[in-house]
Amino acid sequence: MDLRARIEKASGYIKEKSGFEPEIGIILGTGLGSLGDHIEKVSVIDYSDIPEFPVSTVFGHAGRLILGYLEGKKVAAMQGRFHYYEGYSMQEVTMPVRVMKQLGIKLLIASNACGGLNPNFNAGDIMVITDHINFMGTNPLIGPNLEEFGPRFPDMSEVYEREMVEALEKTAASQGIKVHRGVYGAVSGPNYCTKAELRMMIKLGSDTVGMSTVPEAIVARHCGIKVAGVSCITDMAIPDTMIPPTHEEIVRVAESVKPRFVSLVKGFVKEVQI
């Protein structure tokens, strides 16, 4: 089935099942799914029930779409995302964004867990994404253009809208949460980067490194959805000083960031003007 038809089928099913029209989409990164607990739920749909939707395979990703109210705003939250390294095509990785576009979202909040490359950062810090570098070697828009979604050559000069960056910072400040600003670098994974690769990314201007977010952000901008990006730094990846973290350590750090992440996103959703 062609991509257009798949998007229509999936969004049609969700509309029919929930009768809900979200205005904000939220993609919850690894270990950050618990934000879903704070949503006053209207409908919860397993990805496996949505026709034509890819199915999440990663441990720790619940794989369901939560539709409901967060701080009075209508949201669609993805618990679990599709990663390129799992073997999905880029069209599949980004299909949920286009499905949410069809549901009516105007703003996408994309979150992730990632490694820190900037010496001013620490494990457990939160970074507001100001821009990205695509190190994945491919692009989700390769192929025939879906004209009804956006132009052949979409501009990417302000993927993460300045107003959204400032609104996130303002919310963080009002809650006493320290946040950094920075550039997110996306690699395909699934192996972690070598030290030489990390050095290269630092030299090229990346403040963090991760394996997601960029494809979704590109596709969101293509179809005119505003994007706000939040990274949770679960480990530091500065090559000459790094100690490879254990999985337990990453889980521990992610746990410690979670309350601040939840509070930041809730506060932002409450205040944001769409």
């Binding site: 821009d131 570098i133 695509n134 692009n139 390769i142 025939p144 253009n145 050559f153 990417m156 993927v159």
Partner: protein, 274 residues
């Protein structure tokens, strides 16, 4: 698969030779908005891509999709009006198929042009840039797969991808015609989304002067098969983050339109002298 490729190339060649009397010696691949100068060839013979066996078909607005044979300043030339871009979803071997067909037709010199974004901040929209070298930022290469021994070696040298001799001719012709000519390195991104400002800063650190979504596959294939190449970029816009404004395809086409005349003068002169 590629054993089959040789016969596919030969089928295309045989068809073309059944339509044109004299095999061309120089091929020109003209970029976005620069295709018009093919009209200036004498004794023209036009072949639509759709009529050539095994030829891919161009889909981009502003790209015509045909081969124009003729003589220009007494030289037998073949113009490619409209090229195949990787971002359209073609395989790399389809992107460079025309170059292989040119080789089979006996072409030994190639002039490639493109519309590119200025990464070097001393450039201005409307400048022409002689391509001295390139960087392949995509994670793909048109020569991946079984080697076509008839065309060239398994591991082709790229230390002079852009012929010094031909580049000297381009320089001399630019001076004679009073055309301001920059020089620099072209970096190839997949597109189709334009780059982010963070990516453009990375390009600058990597040593690139202009960024675009074409040319590199064709030049790699041409060098592999022993075709001498010269490349010229038309800087149609400044890359993301240099000016505080979004990028769009209209601007690219408008700038290309403005330089068309001096560009055509230059190319004719180069064809005459190489």
């Amino acid at each position: 698969m590629k054993k089959d490729m040789m016969s596919r190339v030969n089928e295309a060649r045989d068809y073309i030779l059944s339509k044109v009397e004299n095999a061309p010696e120089i091929a020109l691949i003209l970029g976005s908005g620069l295709g018009d100068m093919a009209e200036e060839a004498e004794n023209k013979k036009v072949i639509e891509y759709t009529d050539i066996p095994n030829f891919p078909v161009s889909t981009v607005q502003g790209h015509k999709g045909r081969l124009v044979f003729g003589t220009l300043r007494g030289r037998r030339v073949i113009f490619m009006q409209g090229r195949f871009h990787y971002y359209e979803g073609y395989r790399m071997e389809d992107v460079v198929f025309p170059v292989w067909a040119f080789k089979a037709l006996g072409v030994n010199k190639l002039i490639v042009t493109n519309a590119a974004g200025g990464v070097n901040t001393s450039f201005k929209p409307g400048d022409l840039m002689l391509i001295k070298d390139h960087i392949n930022y995509t994670a793909n290469n048109p020569l991946i797969g079984p080697n076509i021994e008839e065309f060239g070696p398994r591991f082709p040298d790229m230390s002079e991808a852009y012929s010094k001799e031909m580049s000297d001719v381009v320089r001399a012709c630019a001076i004679e015609n009073g055309i301001r000519m920059q020089e620099g390195t072209y970096i190839f991104f997949t597109g189709p989304s334009y780059e982010t400002p963070a990516e453009i800063r990375a390009c600058r650190i990597l040593g690139a002067d202009a960024v675009g979504m074409s040319t590199v596959p064709e030049v790699v294939a041409a060098n592999h098969s022993g075709i001498k190449t010269a490349g010229i970029s038309c800087i149609t816009n400044m890359a993301a983050g240099i000016l505080d404004q979004p990028l769009n395809h209209r601007e690219v086409m408008e700038t290309a339109e403005k330089v068309k005349e001096s560009f055509s003068k230059l190319i004719k002169n180069v064809v005459e002298r190489i």
